[in-house]
Amino acid sequence: MKILVYIQRDGDSIGRNSIEALAGAQKFAAELSGEVMAVCLDSSLTEKLTGYNISEVITVSHDGLNTYSPLHFTAAMEQVIADVSANVVVFGHTYQVRDWAPRLSARLNAPFISDCVDADGSTGLTGIRQVYQGKINTNISAEGLVLMSFQSGAFRADSVETGSAAARTMDVDLSSVPATIRPGERFKESKGGVDLTRAEVVVSVGRGIGKEENIPLVKDLKESLGAELGSSRPVVDYGWLPHERQIGSSGQVVTPKMYLAVGISGAIQHQVGMKGSDNIVAINKDPNAPIFEIADYGVVADLFEILPKLSQSIKDYKS
């Protein structure tokens, strides 16, 4: 069983999700008595990679791969997978991987078990995925060549085994890749005025607030606490709050002393923006909401009953 891990570069280093995926691959390789290999479409990381417990590090360098391009990456990986006769290809579930691994799956006719939170190699290879917005887990198995990606945090980066790996470079032929997709430069939008990253207390509101007219309820609460206001994505998508308030993978990452989540389910893309908070308090009417998986304090109740009284009691306490 050959397990090939795709290594994505992040600046000058190996992307954190790739290290986590490597740690995961090492774990289930042991269960499957498999062998772990790594491939990087960039030569600058080879030395860093040979310090891990991997049987072989494959480096592909080609002008067509210097900046990310989905069709070039797909074509290069297709050739690497054929060369090493991989059985399983493992990825970190990054935005880049989301943009090309499905294409590779269709090209190879190999199922892609995406965004897994764990894998089990004890009886063949099984990917464990979250479905229904993190409320339910499901185990998925497949035979033959399989692609698998792991959600950020699925495995611990510090559990990766070190060692010394052999390295080799591989040539790929990208001459027949069409130029139908032409990616431009990456850029950042000029940032809005609010920096939530320094806030000591963040009160954050989600879709559970129901409608725009109810937003003042949360504003009262954040006033009483002297907190900053944050939100989940849908609240911004609906135009109830400006984008600068969004917390999560496509918003800000905050680590306050207290994060109070009101009517937020706790989807992974939200969690990555706030799970580093010192204390997480969640108010949600659904006891199975994934936010309770990371909450230090939980209130299972209707926010409309709690919020008005809570804001008032805090004001009373303070005066």
Binding site: F187, R207, S250, Y297
Partner: protein
């Protein structure tokens, strides 16, 4: 310009979910269903492009009989034609196999653009639009936050990347775009739209119509409510009790008051 929008019916996010008797799926008997969130944004983007540049919008869904509602809602908002992929044989197919069903249904439609949501809110593969792009040999872009036509056969798409980064990418037609929520403000159906909907065509296709005989390429071996690993302190009681306990926690345990 001919655009197909893929739209899926999913359980309402606030629905309480139960595992069914097989242990491999959820109990759908008491659920309310809605259109997948990002798919509504995909439809709106297609309708805006059609209004600006002319053309036709076809809406396509695959699912149980109830999901015909998704097609009807889209037709009421202004889509021109519906395509309903319906067969019990599709029920247990994995996303790679399903992508072959869509590819077979769409290959002779001469589409310029295929729009889908970036991810379904139930199974959340985040794959279908790209799988179809590969089968039909189109260009693609994922996580699209803005679109702009360049001439009549090139579209520019602004993609969302991690940590506040973006990127414009230029795509030759035909192209498959997966749309991120928040790209626009989806419209409501007008009364007139709902009347017009009744006159529009919805074609239904089965596996046999499409000449397909697919077997699943993955198998679901278990479905379960995950066990909680975190020790959460639950604050309970009457509303007044909860409120006074919370104030005490804020003041004395977390020390933010």
């Amino acid at each position: 310009m001919k655009i197909c929008v893929l739209m899926k019916q999913v359980p309402d996010k606030d629905a309480a979910l139960k595992i069914n008797a097989t242990g491999l799926g959820i109990d759908t008997s008491d659920l309310t269903f809605v259109t997948n969130e990002s798919d509504s944004y995909a439809l709106e983007e297609a309708l805006l492009l059609k209004e600006a540049h002319g053309g036709e919008v076809v809406v396509c869904t695959l699912g149980a009989d109830s999901s015909l509602q998704v097609v009807k809602d889209a037709l009421s908002k202004g889509a021109d034609r519906g395509l309903f992929l319906r067969d019990d044989a599709f029920d247990n197919l994995d996303i790679l196999s399903l992508s072959k069903v869509f590819a077979a249904a769409l290959k002779d439609e001469n589409l310029d653009l295929i729009f889908s949501g970036l991810q379904s809110d139930d199974v959340g593969n985040g794959q279908l639009g790209l799988l179809i792009a590969e089968h039909l040999n189109t260009s693609h872009a994922s996580l699209v936050m803005e679109t702009e036509m360049v001439g009549d056969s090139v579209i520019k798409a602004k993609r969302e990347l991690e940590s506040g980064w973006f990127q414009w990418t230029e795509l030759d037609f035909p192209a498959s775009l997966t749309i991120q929520s928040g790209i626009n403000t989806p419209r409501y159906a007008s009364l007139r739209g709902i009347m017009m909907m009744k006159k529009k065509t919805i074609d239904t296709k089965s596996a046999e119509d499409l000449g397909l005989n697919l077997t699943p390429q993955t198998s679901t071996t278990k479905m379960y409510i995950p066990e909680k690993t975190k020790e959460t302190v639950y604050v309970d009681g009457t509303t007044d009790e909860i409120v006074s306990k919370l104030v005490d926690i804020f003041a004395n345990d977390i020390k933010v008051l």
